[in-house]
Symmetry: C2
Subunit: 147 residues, 2 copies
C-alpha cells in the first residue's frame, strides 16, 4: 500500500473556512473542480468531474472544524476503494491541514502525478480560503502532459 501525504496551513483564525470549503458544493467547486455536484452529508456521494473524467466520493465522517473523510466509490481503477482524510487543527493564526490519500495498491506513475496534482489543488484551497479565489478545474495549474 502507498499513500499520498501533504500539509498546508491557511492564514485564518478559525478552521471554519477550510471546513466549509471541504463540506459544501460551492466550497469544493471553488478549489477542486467547478463541475462538482451531489450532496455533502455523511453517507452522501459527491461527484467531481474534470475534462478527462472524474471521481465520485462517499462522505464517511464529518467532525466540524476537525475532520473530513471520504471513500472513492467511482473513478479510475487505481482510485476506487482508496480513502481521503482531511485533518484540521487551529494553531494560532493558522489553520493546519493534514491531507492523506490512503490505500493505493501500487505506486504507479499515475500516483506520482496525483501526488503533485493534489499539492497544487491544496494551494488552490489555501488561496480560496485566504483570498476568496481558488484555481479549480478547468482553471487549474497545468503540471505536465497529463494536465
Amino acid at each position: 500500500m502507498s499513500d499520498i501525504l501533504h500539509r498546508i496551513a491557511t492564514r485564518t483564525t478559525s478552521a471554519d473556512g477550510v471546513y466549509e470549503a471541504l463540506t459544501t458544493i460551492d466550497g469544493l467547486a471553488g478549489w477542486w473542480t467547478k463541475d462538482t455536484t451531489g450532496k455533502t452529508g455523511i453517507g452522501d456521494v459527491i461527484e467531481f468531474r474534470f475534462p478527462p473524467g472524474g471521481f465520485s466520493l462517499k462522505v464517511l465522517e464529518l467532525v466540524p472544524g476537525e475532520l473530513v473523510r471520504w471513500e472513492v466509490v467511482e473513478g479510475p481503477e487505481e482510485w476506487v476503494g482508496t480513502t481521503v482524510n482531511w485533518k484540521l487543527e487551529q494553531s494560532g493564526d493558522y489553520t493546519v491541514v493534514l491531507f492523506e490519500h490512503l490505500g493505493w495498491k501500487e505506486p504507479v506513475e499515475f500516483m506520482y502525478h496525483c501526488s503533485t496534482k493534489w499539492a497544487s489543488y491544496l494551494l488552490s484551497l489555501k488561496s480560496l480560503v485566504e483570498t476568496g479565489t481558488g484555481a479549480p478545474s478547468p482553471h487549474d495549474v497545468m503540471i505536465s502532459d497529463w494536465h
Copy 2:
C-alpha cells in the same frame, strides 16, 4: 518506510535542460535555493541552505538525460540516510520527470510538509526550464506556517 513521489513534465524537446538544472550549481540555485554550493560530480557533496537550515546531498549516480540520484548526508534527522531519485524521460514535446524521495523511517508531520514543498519546488524547476525563471528559496512559495 514511507516515500514521497511526484511527477511533472516540462514542455521541452530534450531532457538536457532539466538534467542541467539538476546537475549544475547554477541550475540548482535557479529553482531550489539560491544558497547552493559545492561540487556536482559523482561522489561530491552539494550543500543546499535555507533560512531555517539546510541539507547536504551526496551525488550517487548520474546518467546524462536520464537519471540523477542523491543521498542525504547532513540535515534534519528525518532526512539523513534518505535518497532522492530523479528519473527523466523524453516523451514527444515533453520531458517527464519522476521524482522519488525514498526511505523516510516514519510518516511524520514534517514529511507531509516536505511532500507539498517538493511539489512546489518541482513547479519552480518546470518554470525555470520553460521560462528561464524559477522560484528558489528565499523567493519560494509559502505553503504554511512552516514556510
